[in-house]
């Protein structure tokens, strides 16, 4: 095209004008933050590139090595250090995200970590190489390494934003923990996307499939099954289910137990030795995908032992776990209100689906040969990258996801009242009314639960808070409306309000397995130096986006109704506009705020006249739609 002044107009749907300074905001990538391995990918014009290291490897082992000199190494190198200095290395940290001590699995009575539980309960802490670390901080180290990998692959361009995938069955605490980890790693989370949904997106766009599909995702530490309806760019999750602590790791555990039983070692083993046994077990499991049998060696405390294992034996050890996944599949098919035969295809995701036993059982249950033409290790990151592009550059695809678990409240007598049932499309807001049970009661303790069974002690506690300031009334007279809101990231917020007086009382939410805002702030201060700079930059960007919106709004209004202003008034508005535009690109947030304020004030009279004009026109008999 010649440069003879021909202007190409870019057309946008109303409300869909792209954000200015896209490049300055940094690149957006898709991150599959896995239990065993993590993957990062980037999409441009729906062409996805899985980012690889200098040796061409896409998988980043989710393993962190805390060295004595204070340095932190993540990935392949860290994994290799497990054998030499097991007590300095942490793996499978994802299983502890938003979890308590009761969720940590031991091997032969020994935990693979040295754990500490804060006196008030809540998320566990790990003792590693003389440091005390939260799972959030360890995940942040993995995310920082992923960010580095991405920036190197993108020729040094800053990568600041990401779609991060989480297991569909991850609960609120684990999702919050994941978002906190990203915050520590200086990554802005555009959206948390469920892993099976991300995989479906990758499949759906690639193979233009339509109809009902199941995504069977068995990773290192988590299992998810989602049933989706795919249709012309819409990915609607019908039902999802899973187990946040069921994965290949459990099979490794079973194999390691088997090996240790063969050794008949009487002495208690250390946390480091547990890690070595688990590593050998994992190698054995992976070898038996291609072979029928093999022999492995474990050396603990200077004593070596040989262990042979056949595929049949491995499958016997793995069967209970695979059976459980199939049981969960059955339940989810029922939840979706469909018949297994309605499902047109099954997509396999996660490294553990490489096991021949898993493939066989999945094929039997669904009566279909499963699809795995996109690498099961990479498909989630590919979907995440596509979604990251969709969120930053626009797209026609639509992901409609659901809540994996029912959410409710503990009522009198330890009974659970469901507020949001599982498989409800998100975002969602639902409310339930409760009342006081004592005369003159002015406060009410609200216990938010993730509902698994009918009784409170069989459910997982998500948060507790106290609603204060209820006006004293007779028992049963107060009407307290508790609203549960789940956003598009699957994160829950709860508000409570006394209805008869309209008095919205103060709420203190204490996440049962989370980190408090204070903890996060101090972690940001302590270990991650750019944090305050980062907060500043984000606030500035938010102000810039807001200012740009205002500029565009006023420009549109002028285009439409400038005749309502005198020349002098018009000139004043224009000068306020110019002033805001001149500071908009700078980094002085106060100047931006002041200029926005001036523009708003300068256009108040204009806005009033525009409103007035529309009412006059309506009175003159015009339809509202024509105004």
């Amino acid at each position: 095209m010649s440069d003879d002044g021909l202007v190409l107009l870019q057309l946008h749907e109303p409300g869909e004008t792209p954000v200015p300074h896209q490049d300055e905001a940094g690149l957006a990538v898709g991150i599959d933050l896995g239990t065993t391995n993590s993957v990062v990918a980037f999409s441009f014009d729906t062409e996805v590139e899985v980012l690889k290291d200098e040796n061409g490897k896409a998988l980043i082992p989710s393993v962190v090595h805390y060295k004595d000199d204070g340095s932190v190494v993540v990935g392949r190198e860290a994994r290799e250090a497990i054998l030499e200095s097991p007590d300095h290395v942490v793996s499978s940290i994802k299983r502890l995200m938003g979890r308590g001590l009761e969720d940590v699995k031991s091997l032969a009575g020994t935990l693979p970590y040295e754990v500490e539980v804060p006196p008030e309960g809540g998320m566990v802490r790990l003792r590693v190489a003389g440091r005390t670390l939260t799972p959030v901080a360890i995940s942040a180290h993995i995310l920082m390494a992923i960010k580095d990998r991405a920036e190197q692959s993108m020729l040094g361009k800053a990568v600041t934003r990401a779609v991060i995938t989480v297991p569909a069955y991850f609960d609120d605490a684990a999702r919050t923990a994941t978002k906190d980890a990203a915050r520590l790693a200086d990554i802005e989370v555009l959206r948390l996307v469920n892993e099976p949904t991300a995989a479906a997106l990758a499949y759906g766009l690639d193979n233009s499939v339509e109809g009902l599909y199941a995504v069977y995702d068995l990773g290192g530490g988590t299992f998810d099954i989602s049933i989706l309806k795919m249709e012309k760019g819409v990915f609607q999750v019908k039902a999802t289910g899973g187990d946040a602590v069921l994965g290949g790791d459990d099979i490794d555990h079973a194999v390691a137990e088997h090996f240790l039983a063969q050794r008949q070692a009487g002495a208690a083993i250390t946390a480091g030795e547990v890690k070595q046994a688990l590593m050998t077990a994992r190698v054995a499991k992976e070898c038996l995908t291609g072979r029928q049998s093999g022999e492995w060696m474990i050396e603990l405390d200077g004593i070596a032992s040989r262990h042979s294992l056949t595929r049949d034996e491995l499958e016997k050890l793995a069967a209970p776990f695979v059976d459980r996944t199939i049981d969960i599949c059955r339940g989810v098919v029922e939840d979706a209100g469909i018949d297994v035969s309605d499902i047109q295809g099954v997509v396999l995701v996660g490294g553990s689906t490489r096991m021949p036993l898993v493939r066989k059982r999945v094929a039997e249950f669904f009566g279909l040969e499963p699809l795995s033409n996109i690498n099961p290790d990479e498909v989630v990151a590919v979907g995440a990258a596509l979604q990251a592009e969709a969120l930053t550059r626009g797209s026609d695809t639509l992901l409609l996801d659901v809540t994996p678990l029912s959410l409710g409240i503990e009522t009198m007598g330890g009974i659970v009242e469901k507020v949001i049932p599982r498989n409800t499309p998100i975002p969602v807001a639902m409310a339930q009314e409760f009342t006081t049970y004592q005369d003159g009661q002015t406060a009410m303790a609200i216990h938010v639960l993730q509902v698994e069974r009918e009784m409170v002690d069989q459910c997982r506690s998500l948060a507790r808070f106290v609603l204060r300031g209820i006006p004293p009334m007779a028992a049963g007279a107060a009407r307290i409306r508790v609203t549960f809101q789940v956003d598009a990231d699957g994160l829950l917020s709860v508000t409570a309000r006394e209805q008869t007086t309209g008095h919205e009382a103060r709420i203190e939410v204490k996440p049962s397995y989370g980190l408090s805002d204070d903890e996060i702030t101090s972690m940001l201060k302590d270990s991650f130096t750019h944090a305050s700079e980062d907060a500043f930059r984000r606030a500035l960007r938010e102000a810039q986006v807001e200012a740009q919106r205002l500029v565009e709004a006023v420009q549109s209004a002028l285009k439409e109704d400038a005749h309502l202003l005198s020349m002098l008034e018009h000139a004043h508005v224009e000068s306020c506009l110019t002033k805001l535009q001149s500071v908009l690109l700078g980094d002085d947030r106060r100047a931006i705020d002041a200029a926005m304020d001036a523009l708003s004030k300068g256009t108040a009279e204009f806005a009033a006249r525009r409103m007035n004009q529309s009412v006059q026109r309506a009175l003159a008999g015009k339809k509202v739609e024509e105004i």
């Binding site: 946008h12 749907e13 109303p14 409300g15 869909e16 004008t17 792209p18 954000v19 896209q22 905001a25 555009l190 959206r191 819409v234 609607q236 059955r330 029922e334 979604q387 969709a390 969120l391 930053t392 626009g394 026609d396 639509l398 992901l399 409609l400 409800t424 499309p425 998100i426 975002p427 969602v428 807001a429 809101q485 956003d487 598009a488 938010e542 986006v545 807001e546 919106r549 205002l550 565009e552 709004a553 006023v554 549109s556 209004a557 439409e560 109704d561 256009t603 108040a604 204009f606 806005a607 525009r610 409103m611 004009q613 529309s614 009412v615 309506a618 009175l619 509202v624 739609e625 105004i627």
Partner: protein
């Protein structure tokens, strides 16, 4: 005159972004393009559907997808905080409308509610209608006693048929303007649906045990 000014003024509200006039039910401001709040409109209007119990479920889904494509928070991820919050409210309202209209029981109660006949579906347990009570007790017993896959399959199919028949009766009652009868039938549908679900669960369990 004052009344007509009020009407005209009520149908137009100021856009939160450009402060100019925007139709109260508009999704986007026609001047500046900013997304607007969800407002308080009925579920049918929200999805651009005729307010009737007999809806076309394919059309419902098509409308729902169409509106979500424009209003879902994923479309506003890079926008200002206010626009992100408004789109979340819009998508939440769409989900509520879709979930209500998709389910025949919730839809029946909603249609009747719009017509000023409230059906309390949350009132648990108590059945005031002795005939319905007897019928439900007998059927529940039959399901509990079913000891073969054949029997439970038959009972489950019967229960499903009754659910569909009841939906047809509700439709007829609403169309004939017999709203008290429709309320009565809707409460009946609640129990029939629960029974059908119980039968289905037991059928699945028994079929699974056979394998």
């Amino acid at each position: 005159m004052t009344a007509s000014i009020a009407t005209a003024a009520a149908s137009v509200v100021p856009c939160w972004s450009c402060k100019g006039p925007v139709a109260a039910r508009a999704l986007f401001c026609s001047v500046c393009g900013a997304v607007q709040g969800p407002g308080t409109i009925d579920h049918f209007s929200r999805l651009g559907l005729q307010p009737t119990f007999d809806i076309d479920l394919d059309l419902l889904e098509k409308q729902y997808f169409g509106f979500q494509r424009r209003l879902h928070p994923d479309r506003f991820a890079a926008k200002s905080a206010k626009e992100r919050a408004l789109s979340q409210s819009q998508a939440t309202a769409l989900n509520e409308a879709y979930e209500t209209l998709k389910d025949p029981l919730k839809r029946a109660a909603y249609v009747l509610d719009l017509k000023g006949h409230k059906v309390d579906l949350t009132a648990c347990g108590t059945i005031n209608d002795p005939q319905l009570l007897m019928e439900q007790m007998e059927k529940r017993e039959a399901i509990a006693d079913a000891d073969s896959v054949e029997t439970i399959t038959k009972l489950s199919a019967e229960a499903d048929t009754e659910v569909i028949a009841c939906q047809c009766h509700i439709s007829a009652a609403i169309n004939a303007g017999e709203l008290d009868e429709a309320v009565h039938l809707t409460i009946r549908l609640k129990y029939l649906a629960k029974l059908a679900e119980e039968a289905r669960t037991k059928k699945t369990r028994m079929t699974r045990a056979l394998r």
